[in-house]
């Protein structure tokens, strides 16, 4: 009686991608029986907030992402060790081989280790990837005034540094690129962010590369030697030198992978009924480390699993909206030097905003320190509508831009009232 038999959906990995998938599935009609296995002790928490947890700004419960009526079965602390696509089974380290009718691989990513020959495990070398990592670091928090070094001045490194700084560590960030968060910020934006963070007590050195690590006789890390010959002592090292997709489960020819597990626009892998989602997957040339595309993938995948048509996943230029140590950062579109730029600078207040315009259209936005208008900018970039009337007030957000556009087009600003402007807007 195939009609009454429920189908088994097995999700490997209990990270944010899985959380989004479960949220999406909860909104759709389906008959899946869902099982989630996850390596970590707690499933589906908000990894983005780990630095706030580290900083003591949030409690662990605040990170929970599961829908209240979640019907999935969770097996926490369980690691998938092998995939048998022919038998449609996943072997796990609890000795159980779990069957699936459909499989979602959502194993996330791990910290990419820096290419330093002398890097080896030590009890004062950490990463900030999991709740367990944060717990471990928080136990160190009694060492007030101790020196922490964070290797990597990207998003994750800066968040970790913020957390450590709040814990009382004297924290320095070493970044290889001359610009902090160089994937999101331009050079000037990086300088703004650097000044703000320095103002909050972080030590930041950019354009530096560690050459070797020094250890004490008991195996603890003592310090770093830099390529430029400098030396930094530290009591704690946190590695935040990027992430690599965790594709261990795809170690078989039939399941094709490159940097990550290759998927198509419906998040299908090269094997029937096996899907991949989130940081572990690769679409075209893209891998993913930010929330927005993973959310979109989850939405597409949920529809695919439920037989609901969707446009499929397509990589676009997702706006990046971040908060680093309380500093708003927003990035959307491109910032080519050849385009027309409008720039706002308030160095003392740490506010830097840049808009790029080409052919009378907004094509790029970078906001540091004041994210006002970000969603409107994202919309303008997406829609590509002409902005000449809005240009004068564009930098200052929708209300100002609309008001000054109305004043300008009226030709006689003195006789217009704000009520008229609003009416015209909605008409």
């Amino acid at each position: 009686m195939a009609a009454t038999q429920t189908r088994e959906l097995l999700v490997v990995g209990a990270g944010m991608g899985t959380a989004y998938l479960l949220q999406e599935l909860a909104r759709l009609p389906h008959d899946w029986s869902i099982t989630v296995i996850g390596e970590e002790a707690r499933p589906c928490y908000n990894r983005v907030l780990l630095s706030s947890l580290l900083a003591g700004e949030l409690a662990a419960a605040d990170l929970d992402m599961l829908p209240a009526d979640c019907a999935a079965r969770f097996h926490s602390g369980v690691r998938a060790t092998a995939l048998d696509t022919r038998a449609r089974q996943v072997h796990c380290d609890d000795g159980v081989a779990r069957h699936y009718d459909a499989l979602v691989i959502a194993t996330g990513a791990r910290v990419a280790l820096p290419p330093i020959d002398t890097l080896r495990a030590a009890d004062n070398i950490h990463v900030v990837r999991t709740l367990a990592d944060v717990d471990a670091l928080r136990t160190l928090s009694s060492q007030r005034g101790a020196r922490a070094v964070v290797l990597g001045g990207g998003l994750l490194g800066l968040e970790a540094a913020h957390g450590l700084n709040s814990l009382g560590f004297s924290t320095a960030v070493l970044h290889r690129n001359p610009t902090l968060m160089n994937r999101q910020l331009d050079r000037e934006g990086g300088q703004y962010l650097q000044r703000i963070l320095e103002g909050r007590g972080l030590g930041i050195r950019t354009g530096v590369t560690p050459a070797a690590l020094d250890y004490s006789r008991d195996g603890r890390l003592r310090g770093l030697r830099l390529e430029d010959g400098g030396r930094i002592d530290c009591d704690l090292l946190v590695l935040a030198t990027g992430i690599v997709p965790n594709k261990d489960l795809a170690a078989q020819p039939a399941l094709r992978s490159e940097r990550g597990i290759l998927v198509d626009e419906q998040l299908r892998t090269s094997v029937q009924d096996v899907y991949a989602l989130g940081e572990c997957c690769q679409y075209g040339e893209h891998t993913f480390g930010l929330v927005a595309p993973v959310r979109e993938q989850a939405a597409v995948l949920a529809r695919a699993l439920c037989g609901v048509r969707s446009g499929g996943f397509s990589p676009s230029d997702w706006p990046v909206q971040l908060k680093i140590s309380g500093v708003d950062i927003f990035r959307a579109g491109r910032l080519d030097p050849g385009d027309e730029h409008i720039v706002f600078r308030a160095p003392a207040q740490g506010v830097y905003r840049r808009l790029a315009i080409a052919d009378n259209r907004l094509v790029g936005t970078l906001l540091v320190g004041d994210g006002a208008g970000s969603s409107w900018y994202a919309q303008l970039i997406r829609e590509g509508s002409p902005i000449d009337a809005l240009r004068q007030g564009l930098m200052f957000g929708r209300d100002v831009a609309t008001a000054s556009a109305a004043a300008g087009s009226a030709g006689d600003a003195h006789t217009r009232t704000s009520a008229e402007i609003i009416e015209r807007d909605t008409a």
Binding site: V343, R353, T417
Partner: protein
């Protein structure tokens, strides 16, 4: 709360005001000013300038200490220096090498001692005053016609007359309280008619039944034609002419050519309009002709005035209620100056320079060195300075480098003069900048004395606050110098009251009815009586007489040797045009003189803001003078550059430029740079209301608005004009070079190490904005753009000085605050009501100025915006109808 009843220091209406204030010791706080209900001039009303008087009482820009060559010194040393230089110059170069240049802003007592020192003890009559620029032609005409400078009318005559002819007077703006009395009288008397004669349609036309837009300089032809018309239509008062006048035949002969055709050709008025005016005049016995600078400030000013007086003499309309030729003065105490003899061609107390007068005054003063002949009149005086003949010049309470014609030359003259003393309240006037010695003078509310208004009412100005710093009353300064010159006995005054008693006594000295000006009954006032003196109109009521004093000339007797008034033969001569634009000048409603006082009050620059040149819209279109351009007006003397203000009330070929701007307030706004030093041959009054100049268009590469805490003079920019806003100053800028260049120039002026910059730049459009913060306060800010229309509004920028910096500085450079309702350009300055608010109320059903007043309060204080309110209502009605 204490109250002090005193007199407004602005125009010649001379309104009584009450200053209410809190005081703790010498410290006077929370001053507020309201109209004095018991004063005959205003009966409680005030105009916007008077209403804002309390706001001018800051020490901002005040001269606080004597300064010699830019360095502060003690009063004793400063006074020694003046005395020494006076004595030395006079000894080496003679009495003609020294001069005083005074002001209609001085009190009568100040005026009296300065005049006495120069004419009685230094042997020179080189004492002239800025009143020369405003009403000396009216004085000359009264003297020619009546034998004495007597204004034969009262304000009540403006109300009681049946025909009011306003000539060359925009009283709605320049004498608002008086104008409102006229408006009220016209409402009360439906038969009352008002004729306005002007070269441009002014706000005063609001009350007019007939507006005659004449060509510049043709007033004498118009009134010459009237005299002919009256003669030809049997409207002369033959009995009056025969009994009380002489010279009609010559006057008629001089105007024989002024028939309707000729007058029409000269003035540009249609026959019909002329006929209407002439007929109304002929048929209305109770006629007052009210005239002001449009008549006086002409090369033929005295003749213009006499052409008017001739018509009144010919119809016997003088010395009677509701009738007379009424010259209204511009300054608060021009009349007081006339009474003491503050003009170079008068001696004192309405006496001239004939031997008998010189002798009498000399004996009264016990003078040691009497001047025996008239001295240099203003324009002439500064030319004598330029020629090096006058080597010591003391300027009191006035700013001739701005207010005299050919201003550049006046500045040059001061630079050449051996020693220039300037006593003033303001530290930094264009004239003060050229002084060798600066003496800090007490200002309004800080000194005591009397003033005389346009209807011969002497009122007290009273002191309610201590002068700031070491400022002293002018009478004290002059008296101290006189004592140092060895005249301690003649200048032993210990108070203004003592000076007033002597002045009053002199007016009666050997008078015996020869001169109307006789206030000798007041010579016996005690100090207390002087302190409490209520307003007094002269001629004073005879002692013990009931009722008000008699109108001058009521008995038909005039203070001439034969007791008869004189007709003056006036040959109308219009100024020659040459195809260039005709430049007219004048006052704005809410500003005063060179803005040293009104320029410090934010709300007084809301009616008209930046330096602008008014142009007929057709002319503007032809020359391409739109909002994005600058109007450059230039001739062989100089240049002014303003934003073009299209004004349909101006005829084609004419431009109108306000007189108020100069170096501290605008780059090139001193209209006197265009005015030739041409003067009336009788009065010496310059022709300030007529010049010829080329008008051209300039297209700036960028425009800007600049906010700063300090007043800045922006050398090197093509145009700037500055005004006061709450907490700072706002300037409109225009420049021929791109915004980035201008920005670099401004950065150099504005940036300081302790200031934090916030900037905005649209690299493609050239839109550039920057501000500097000191802590959370905005220290300065500028907004530059290629289009003037792209600049933030003045209203928005005006809030920068008072808005604290928000958490994010983003909004500070936004240029607008979208949520706040914009009240629009201010129409009513008293209650700060804007055009948009008014438009909204009209849309909600307000159909009259009264209903607007009830809803918004606009127009209910000074009333000077009532013409504009009416226009807005009419325009809205027209729009609805269309």
């Amino acid at each position: 709360m204490q109250r002090c009843s005193t007199t407004c220091p602005y125009c010649g209406v001379g309104c009584g005001v009450v200053a209410a204030y809190d005081s703790a010791g010498d410290d006077v706080r929370s001053v507020s000013v309201s109209g004095e209900k018991n004063h005959p001039a205003n009966a409680g009303r005030l105009c916007v300038k008077g209403t804002a008087l309390a706001e001018t009482l800051s020490t901002q820009g005040r001269l606080l200490y004597p300064r010699l060559g830019g360095r502060q010194l003690h009063w004793d040393a400063a006074l020694d220096e003046v005395a020494q230089r006076l004595r030395d110059t006079r000894r080496e170069h003679g009495p003609q090498s020294i001069a005083f240049y005074l002001s209609g802003q001085l009190l009568t007592e100040d005026y009296y001692v300065a005049n006495k020192l120069m004419k009685g003890f230094l042997g020179s009559a080189n004492v002239d005053t800025n009143s020369r620029l405003c009403m000396s032609s009216a004085v000359a005409a009264y003297q020619r016609a009546f034998g004495e400078d007597v204004v034969p009318c009262n304000y009540q005559d403006l109300e009681s007359c049946d025909l009011l002819v306003m000539v060359g007077s925009n009283a709605a703006w320049t004498h608002p309280v008086l104008y409102q009395r006229v408006v009220a009288a016209k409402q009360a008397n439906p038969h009352k008619r008002v004729v306005v004669i002007d070269t441009r349609r002014t706000a005063s036309c609001d009350v007019a039944d007939l507006f005659l837009q004449v060509r510049p300089g043709t007033d004498a032809a118009l009134f010459g034609g009237l005299l002919q018309f009256l003669t030809n239509h049997g409207a002369l008062d033959e009995r009056y002419i025969a009994a009380h006048t002489q010279g009609l035949a010559d006057a008629l002969a001089a105007t024989a050519a002024c028939d309707l055709d000729a007058v029409s050709a000269a003035t540009g008025l249609a026959h019909e309009a002329l006929q209407t005016f002439y007929t109304w005049y002929a048929n209305t016995p109770a006629t007052v002709t009210l005239y002001s600078q449009g008549i006086n400030q002409s090369r033929t000013g005295s003749d213009n005035c006499n052409a008017i007086i001739n018509c009144h003499l010919a119809t016997g309309r003088i010395g009677k209620p509701g009738a007379g030729p009424f010259s209204i003065t511009g300054q608060p105490n021009a009349m007081g100056g006339r009474e003491v003899g503050g003009l170079a061609n008068q001696l004192a107390a309405h006496r001239g320079f004939d031997a008998q007068d010189v002798d009498a005054v000399g004996r009264f003063w016990r003078a040691t060195d009497m001047a025996s002949a008239p001295g240099h009149k203003a324009v002439d005086l500064f030319q004598a300075v330029e020629r090096g003949e006058i080597k010591f010049l003391w300027i009191m309470a006035t700013n001739p480098v701005v207010s005299l014609p050919d201003a550049t030359r006046v500045a040059r003259a001061l630079q050449r003069c051996d020693f220039v003393v300037v006593s003033d309240c303001s530290a930094d006037t264009a004239t003060a900048q050229l002084a060798d010695l600066l003496l800090p003078a007490a200002g309004w509310g800080e000194k005591a004395g009397t003033v005389t208004n346009s209807e011969r009412v002497i009122s007290r100005q009273r002191k309610f606050a201590q002068p700031p710093g070491e400022a002293r009353p002018d009478w004290w300064i002059v008296t101290q110098v006189a004592r140092r010159l060895g005249h301690a006995d003649a200048f032993d005054y210990d108070s203004p009251a003592a000076i007033f008693r002597e002045h009053a006594a002199l007016s009666g000295f050997e008078n015996q009815g020869a001169r109307c000006f006789d206030i000798s009954p007041l010579a016996g006032l005690s100090d207390d009586e002087y302190e409490a003196l209520p307003p007094q109109r002269w001629p004073l009521a005879a002692t013990g007489a009931a009722g008000p004093p008699e109108q001058p000339f009521a008995d038909g007797r005039f203070p001439t040797p034969d007791g008869r008034a004189r007709f003056v033969a006036v040959h109308p001569v219009a100024p020659a045009a040459d195809g260039r634009f005709v430049v007219n000048t004048g006052r704005l409603r809410d500003q005063w003189h060179t803005m040293t006082r009104t320029g410090t009050v934010p709300r007084l620059s809301r009616h008209r803001d930046f330096f602008a040149i008014s142009i007929n819209p057709e002319d503007a279109r032809e020359l391409g003078l739109d909002e994005e351009s600058l109007a450059r007006l230039g001739n062989e003397r100089g240049t002014v550059v303003g934003v073009p203000a299209p004004d349909p009330d101006l005829p084609r070929g004419q431009v109108w430029v306000p007189i108020h701007w100069s170096g501290p307030f605008a780059a090139a706004g001193r209209v006197n740079d265009l005015i030739a030093p041409l003067t009336d041959p009788v009065s010496g009054q310059p022709q300030s209301k007529f010049a010829l100049a080329q008008l051209t268009r300039e297209a700036p590469a960028c425009w800007g608005m600049l906010f700063s805490r300090r007043p800045l003079e922006l050398a090197g920019t093509d145009y700037w004009s500055r005004l006061q806003v709450a907490g700072g100053h706002l300037a409109l800028l225009a420049h021929s070079r791109p915004a980035s260049r201008l920005a670099a120039q401004l950065d150099a002026v504005l940036s300081q190490p302790d200031l934090k910059p916030v900037s905005y730049q649209d690299e493609a459009s050239g839109d550039l904005r920057r501000l500097w913060l000191r802590g959370d306060d905005i220290d300065s800010a500028f907004f530059l753009a290629t289009q003037r229309a792209s600049l933030p509004t003045r209203d928005w920028l005006g809030t920068l000085g008072t808005s604290p910096c928000p958490g994010s500085p983003l909004g500070l450079l936004a240029g607008c605050t979208p949520s706040a309702a914009d009240p629009g350009a201010t129409v009513c300055s008293c209650w700060e009501v804007g055009e948009k608010q008014i438009a909204a109320e009209i849309a909600r059903g307000a159909t009259s100025v009264e209903s607007l007043g009830e809803r918004l309060r606009c127009g209910t204080q000074c009333g000077s915006c009532l013409p504009e309110l009416k226009q807005l209502i009419q325009a809205a009605a027209k729009e609805r109808a269309a």
